[in-house]
Chain length 121, copies 6
Amino acid sequence: MGHAQSNTPAATDKTGTQQQSRAQQLMGATAPKLAELTDNVLYGDIWERPGLSKRDRSLVTISALIALNRPDQLRSHIKLGLQNGLTKDEIVETITHMAFYSGWPTAVSAVAVAKDVFGQK
Amino acid sequence: MGHAQSNTPAATDKTGTQQQSRAQQLMGATAPKLAELTDNVLYGDIWERPGLSKRDRSLVTISALIALNRPDQLRSHIKLGLQNGLTKDEIVETITHMAFYSGWPTAVSAVAVAKDVFGQK
Amino acid sequence: MGHAQSNTPAATDKTGTQQQSRAQQLMGATAPKLAELTDNVLYGDIWERPGLSKRDRSLVTISALIALNRPDQLRSHIKLGLQNGLTKDEIVETITHMAFYSGWPTAVSAVAVAKDVFGQK
Amino acid sequence: MGHAQSNTPAATDKTGTQQQSRAQQLMGATAPKLAELTDNVLYGDIWERPGLSKRDRSLVTISALIALNRPDQLRSHIKLGLQNGLTKDEIVETITHMAFYSGWPTAVSAVAVAKDVFGQK
Amino acid sequence: MGHAQSNTPAATDKTGTQQQSRAQQLMGATAPKLAELTDNVLYGDIWERPGLSKRDRSLVTISALIALNRPDQLRSHIKLGLQNGLTKDEIVETITHMAFYSGWPTAVSAVAVAKDVFGQK
Amino acid sequence: MGHAQSNTPAATDKTGTQQQSRAQQLMGATAPKLAELTDNVLYGDIWERPGLSKRDRSLVTISALIALNRPDQLRSHIKLGLQNGLTKDEIVETITHMAFYSGWPTAVSAVAVAKDVFGQK
């Protein structure tokens, strides 16, 4: 059971009531099929596969989100990456590395997101 | 001294003669400044920084190259990733993971590159 | 005469005064040539061509805007698509389909825009 | 049962032997999980959903592939689109429309692919 | 009358026969409307506007084509740029500059194209 | 000594105290290596190279930022471009030109940024 689990697929809370997954909360009413695929295929199957650790999956996801310039999803995945065992220093080093592969603007935008998630001024 | 080194900055071979770096060979005559930055800043400084292992740098670079659909550079970096300690299975798992973050076409193209580098039919 | 017309090129209102097109309002003072091309070429010529229905043009435009991650223009074009005969369900199904071709983050961002346009909580 | 079916998931031919799906042929040996997801989720589930016709799914897929500049996948999907009921004229009109949304270079590249698929000189 | 002209819209040759524009040759049979827009709007109107010199238009076009990774169109526009007064050194300097804004892979691919156009080994 | 200088690397003010560069202010606490590379390599070396004027470097940077849809960095670089000698008209003409190379949505977003920087209503 991994750290990613808690903030994604449906979990049962202490009182035994089923909680909605984050995907259900965000997208369930508008795009139920996409929410279901997010829970059952993306998080329920892919992220749980043993071929790559959750820490490594966070690392590759964060790299792709920096490269593709997706600040909203980067925010969630930096938080998840910290839960999955990445250190702040590794995340910042990844951003710096990405500056060379997807360009300075993607890295500068990612620093702003990381700074905010890390609670730095 | 890492595995990456040998195929990038200028190295001295057994007979003592200076060999050109791969960047020098590819770009030196046309774009000498870019070749110099590749050797001195990208490989000489960034890839050598201790904040992220060479194996992890290969992992994030490969992820970005899949996401951005850069098959030529992906080819070189899959080779380098294998030298830096990534397994074929980890690379394939990364491609499968990326299908969800940058889309099926980027993953399908990456499989074709990986298949070719791995020498599979 | 199609639904798209009313919110784009200059129209004459009931009292006979010429109204500015949306492109003129948004860009006319800053980029008059681009506003003119938007009215005369993009909306006045391309969108009016019979080779593809306005409903289909909305469908392809929405698909491209999801894939390219252009939330601001997606917002306008989801509204226009509804006017051009697309249903909410078709728009959501397109977003879900796009998750596989341009990646989950583009689809998740598009759901947020659609949800907002549809007035859903 | 749609036209798309035949060139994608595993089908049983006249003699009763199971044929490999196109995804299995292309990716099965290298990336079995991605091939499986392609057959079972992308083609077996998404493309079969009634919310959007196969003709419309081809239209949105082609639009995304033009916009994202994925010539290899565009080639396959122009062929599939013709099987799914799109006309050559609609495909060309979509490319022309896309010139305005993803830029001339993406449209010019798409014309080269379409020309080749259509067998035009 | 600029250098760009000769390789784009229809010109009348010495013997008085009308020659097809390059767009007509490449796309006319498959996508006649796109060919027409290329000749009449893109080259006939935009490139001829006095607000930016042809040399500057080549510079901005080349920058965009590097950044967006469009090697086929970059090839044509490096040739056109040389005709429009850009020097080889300025083109290479632009590629080197772009490495920082769109990432190393886009610059490395652009060097390969430039090297080939310049006829360098 | 160019106009770009003042808003980028560390400068010494009238009273002799060292001021932080803009990169240091924005990123220094979170990503010190990226801030250092921005000051020493990107602005200290690349932007100072004589092969392309600062005005031309602003022009190519602005073009790439429009094409790649990076509104935050575009804002800063439109301001810097004006300092480096570009006129408002040249910037608007570049945006209009880009509509054809990276698509209407990138140009429309860039007009919004330019309008705001120029202080136009």
